[in-house]
């Protein structure tokens, strides 16, 4: 069914047929596909994801080893995205139709269009090889996080900046903003407290939904920078035809995605008192 027999990868092409059969049986690959699935699902119930075909280590251990690096990278990318997008989106909304708005929206369009597998090498070329400010790859050297996080966070920053702009533009015409201005609040307070207060909900929704793109992007970013996370483990395992590990990576990343999206739903009530549960 699947091209690339793991047994062949493990033993090499010159292995004797008897040895191959023995290994196939030891791995349970001679069982019908449904019974293989059943034993996999049974294992999942007690966090037994099986063993790597390649390194023979338990997959759960492999995943746990790599998880912190991915969390660190996506967390940093998320932070960078918000830090860039917030001032940019606010500026674009306040100066709508003016040069500042055009510049911010141009940045946003470029940011959405630039593929991370190109941005990464370009950043390495400029800041690592050219200026020597950051390490080329790995996670150990100080400052190693910066370039991968920018690579991963830029597209999200661009999308977020656009959304903050359009949300603010909608809100700025509402009566309560005029009231806030009329009672003499500073421009700063009106924007950051009153207008953005209403923008948090769509921002959080977007961040939750975009987390999927971020986790997918992490696969490529980690490969570029040799970042020892789940994404690079996934790509390594695909190359080695280590399917149980591929399965484990996809499963864990997807669970993380679903958990975060559930959390975003719960955060709604906390951010916006109007939709707090139990008051419907």
């Amino acid at each position: 069914m699947v091209p690339g027999d793991p047994v062949e990868v493990m033993l090499g092409e010159s292995a004797r047929p008897a040895d191959r059969e023995a290994l196939r049986m030891a791995l349970g690959l001679d069982q019908p596909i449904l019974s293989q699935l059943w034993s996999y699902l049974k294992g999942l119930l007690h966090f037994d994801l099986g063993y790597s075909l390649h390194s023979k280590q338990p997959i759960a251990d492999l995943l746990l080893q790599r998880l912190p690096a991915t969390l660190e990278l996506t967390g940093a990318a998320l932070l960078i995205a918000v830090v860039i997008a917030l001032p940019l989106g606010v500026m674009a909304a306040l100066y709508k139709g003016k040069a500042q708005d055009d510049a911010a929206m141009l940045f946003s369009l470029v940011g959405i269009s630039i593929p991370n597998f190109w941005l990464g090498p370009m950043l390495i070329l400029l800041f690592s090889l050219g200026l020597g400010w950051a390490p080329v790859s790995g996670r150990d050297a100080p400052g190693a996080l910066i370039l991968p996080a920018i690579t991963l966070g830029t597209a999200l920053a661009a999308i977020l900046a656009r959304m903050i702009r359009s949300t603010l533009l909608e809100v700025l015409h509402e009566d309560y903003i005029r009231t806030a201005q009329a009672k003499g609040l500073s421009r700063h307070a009106v924007i950051w407290r009153h207008a953005l207060g209403n923008a948090w909900l769509p921002i959080i929704t977007l961040l939750g939904l975009q987390l999927g793109a971020l986790l997918g992007g992490a696969v490529i970013t980690e490969t570029i920078f040799d970042w020892p996370g789940l994404g690079s483990l996934l790509v390594e395992s695909i190359q080695k035809r280590d399917y149980p590990v591929v399965q484990g990576c996809v499963l864990l990343i997807s669970i993380a995605y679903v958990v975060v999206n559930t959390l975003t739903d719960l955060i709604y009530g906390w951010v916006d008192p109007r939709i707090r549960l139990g008051k419907i």
């Binding site: 269009s113 593929p115 991370n116 190109w118 070329l125 490529i220 695909i238």
Partner: protein
């Protein structure tokens, strides 16, 4: 306006390279040992890669791959997704319920991650790439078509058509589909942009076209190793991808401004 003209020019060039590239006397896989890593110049055009292959020829060959994959996936995923979404939205009931649960399952996975895993498991190659991306991509179109139909099917003209005894197939295809075409075309424009990046990304990871065939993504991967001595190997395909995706996004924005009434009062 100038940006828009540039975008149209880039997209036309992309389409021309893709459609007529094979007719040109190009040799994207021809190795010239004496030209290894030659930088771009007026006589060498875009320069040569690490094996001495002309980058301009490879760029044109890569344009064809990205064009075919992007349009192929959007066509397959779009027509399948829209059909499913239309039917689920119009008929509702058990079919709708089952469709929505299937969509929920797909949405539980980050799209590109699922595509990477599928392409990895199915093995590299352009066919599998299109299958993997289509399997992941139809969900968005189905959801959009369904939600649009749900709000439109209560309209008077649909009720009138039902009262006149028009067949359900005609109602869906003639009375509903044209009304939801605008948002779907906008979605497809951004979809093509996304697929250009996805194809290049998967090829970058080694899951797309196989050597010696050229794809913009695999060209970046090849070039990344020679960045210090031959940065043009990464620059050329990267700029191509960026220009095409930028142009598609700009076009999508324009279409949205013109076709989508709801966003008009905002921007």
């Amino acid at each position: 306006m100038m940006g828009f003209r540039l975008a149209i020019t880039v997209l036309l060039l992309w389409a021309l390279m893709a459609l007529f590239g094979p007719l040109l006397p190009l040799s994207p896989n021809q190795i010239e040992l004496s030209q290894i890593l030659t930088p771009p110049s007026s006589s060498e055009l875009l320069g040569y890669d690490d094996l001495g292959r002309p980058l301009l020829d490879r760029l044109v060959a890569g344009a064809r791959i990205s064009f075919m994959v992007a349009f192929g996936v959007v066509l397959v995923a779009g027509s399948f997704g829209i059909t499913i979404g239309l039917l689920a939205g119009y008929f509702g009931g058990l079919f709708d319920l089952i469709t929505m649960r299937i969509i929920d399952i797909f949405l539980a996975f980050p799209g590109i991650l699922l595509a990477i895993a599928l392409a990895g498991v199915m093995g590299p190659g352009i066919d599998n790439l299109v299958i993997a991306l289509s399997l992941v991509g139809w969900v968005g179109y189905a959801r959009l078509a369904r939600s649009q139909v749900l709000s439109l099917k209560q309209r008077d003209h649909v009720t009138a058509a039902i009262a006149l005894g028009t067949s359900e197939l005609t109602i869906v295809s003639r009375h509903l589909l044209p009304l939801i075409a605008a948002p779907l075309i906008i979605e497809a424009t951004f979809g093509i942009a996304g697929m250009v990046i996805a194809e290049a990304g998967l090829s970058f990871l080694g899951l797309g076209v196989q050597p010696p065939e050229a794809s913009w993504g695999s060209m970046i991967r090849d070039g990344a190793r020679y960045m210090l001595v031959a940065p043009h190997m990464v620059m050329v395909p990267g700029l191509a991808i960026m220009l095409v995706v930028f142009s598609l996004n700009l076009l999508g924005d324009r279409l949205r401004d013109r076709l989508d009434i709801r966003s008009r009062h905002i921007s």
